[in-house]
């Protein structure tokens, strides 16, 4: 009986041990990009930025904070979005430029 339990438990533990670092990595890899855009105050243009940012590959969620004039781009784990692509999206939405700040699980990069 004991050996049967061992046969079941050991592989499960091994699988968990193998998966744990991967899960941990995925959690760490959640990246948020804050895009401060001058003049981003009304929904007519905020929706424009949102529309352009949604076209970028690798985004998980886009949020617009009009009070602070900031668009927040949540990046999918393991994906990256370049500053150049973001700047292009901002320009396509009719704005001149943006200040980009990246945070990884709340830590500035």
């Amino acid at each position: 009986m004991k050996s049967k339990v061992k046969i079941f438990v050991v592989p499960v533990l091994l699988v968990l041990l193998f998966l744990f670092p991967l899960l941990s990595f995925a959690e760490k890899a959640t990246q948020k990009i804050s895009i401060k855009v001058e003049g981003l105050y009304c929904p007519f243009c905020a929706y424009g930025i949102e529309k352009q940012l949604k076209k970028l590959k690798g985004f998980k969620k886009v949020e617009i904070n009009l009070k602070h004039g900031v668009a927040e781009l949540h990046v999918k784990p393991g994906m990256s979005i370049t500053d150049q692509a973001i700047q292009q999206a901002v320009e396509d939405a009719g704005f001149d430029s943006a200040t980009i700040e990246r945070t990884q699980n709340g830590d500035k990069q």
Binding site: Y41, P43, F44, C45, Y47, G48, K51, K54
Partner: protein, 327 residues
């Protein structure tokens, strides 16, 4: 010299007072909705339209749906949900109702127009992303004329497009031309600046004679055209006082020929005669009834009631003309 200084000071004070105070002919207001995703709640209500029976339609942008209410703002039905299938919306951004009660809905993200019958069944859809005739880049404003032609404020293409009732492209006008704030403030000097050109035209309305009123939002003005796109006149300009705008947004023309314009950053509604003479204004920034946090659209019914979507407060407000209110 001292007298000139006092006259100047008096003029400045009068100007500031005229911007702060004002006639309020629409003191009776009813407020509907709050932030949420249940029926009769809103999350960023962005556009509004009313049909001949005073049923009210609201484009509830963040909830990706259109809600229909009775004339007393009782919830009747809704449709939408995210996606690009028929009857779905990614971001409903503009509404219009034609003479037979058909409902048109613009989609900001999908660059398309959907046409529904009065029961909400889809009849037609058209539009893709682009700059060609019949394509759109964030359509936000819709209006229909007496022949059921439909006009679209194609915001990011800085133009107006006109279609027949079956969605066939008829004509277009406009191009990009931003007016500086200085020229916009002093537009009584630079009065012929950029006629027929736009800087993010967001909303559009048609009057009883099929004249087309375009809210040229970031040029802080309204331009008026013939049904074929011939420039007729303009009014507005950047400013705080009556008759001026800080981003003109929603626009509607009543049966009686009064023009109502939502003034986004001034958090108010303004009323004009059909030839653009300022009549009245009401509203200021706030959460109380009659106050606004960024009105994005408005409409007016046959009784003269003005319906305003109060975007930042996630609600709809209905204003009744003072002379129609019997307490």
């Amino acid at each position: 010299m001292k007298n000139i200084f006092y006259i100047f000071l008096f003029a400045i004070c009068a100007l500031i007072l005229s911007a702060c105070g004002g006639i309020d002919p629409y003191s009776k207001v009813d407020v509907f909705g709050q932030k949420g995703n249940n029926p009769d709640e809103f999350n960023e209500p962005f556009a509004i339209a009313v049909d001949a029976s005073s049923n009210v339609f609201v484009a509830d942008a963040r909830n990706q749906r259109v809600q229909k209410f009775s004339s007393k703002m009782q919830f009747l039905e809704q449709w939408g949900g995210g996606g690009n299938d028929p009857r779905k919306f990614e971001k409903p951004s503009g509404l219009a109702i034609d003479g037979t009660g058909n409902i048109y809905v613009a989609d900001y993200d999908l660059d398309r127009i959907q046409k529904f019958n009065p029961q909400g069944r889809i009849l037609l859809e058209w539009g893709t992303s682009g700059k060609l005739p019949g394509q759109f880049n964030s359509p936000t404003g819709l209006a229909t004329d007496s022949k059921n032609n439909i006009f679209v404020a194609d915001m990011y293409n800085h133009r107006v497009q006109k279609f027949s009732a079956d969605g066939k492209f008829l004509t277009t006008w406009g191009d990009y031309h931003p007016i500086s704030v200085f020229k916009s403030v002093f537009n009584f000097i630079f009065s012929r600046e950029a006629e027929g050109l736009f800087n993010y035209p967001a909303r559009i309305a048609v009057d009883g004679e099929d004249r087309v009123y375009v809210s040229d939002s970031y040029n802080n003005r309204v331009q008026v055209f013939s049904s074929q796109g011939k420039f007729l006149f303009q009014f507005g300009g950047a400013g705080l006082w009556g008759g001026k705008f800080r981003v003109s947004s929603g626009i509607a023309v009543s049966k009686q020929g009064r023009v109502f314009v939502a003034d986004f950053y001034n958090h108010r509604v303004q009323e004009f005669s059909r030839d653009g003479c300022f009549i009245a204004k009401w509203g200021m920034k706030g959460k109380d009834p009659g106050q606004f946090d960024g009105p994005t659209d408005l409409t007016v019914d046959d009784e003269g009631r003005v319906y305003v979507v109060d975007w930042g407060n996630h609600r709809t407000q209905v204003f009744k003309p003072a002379d129609s209110v019997k307490e």
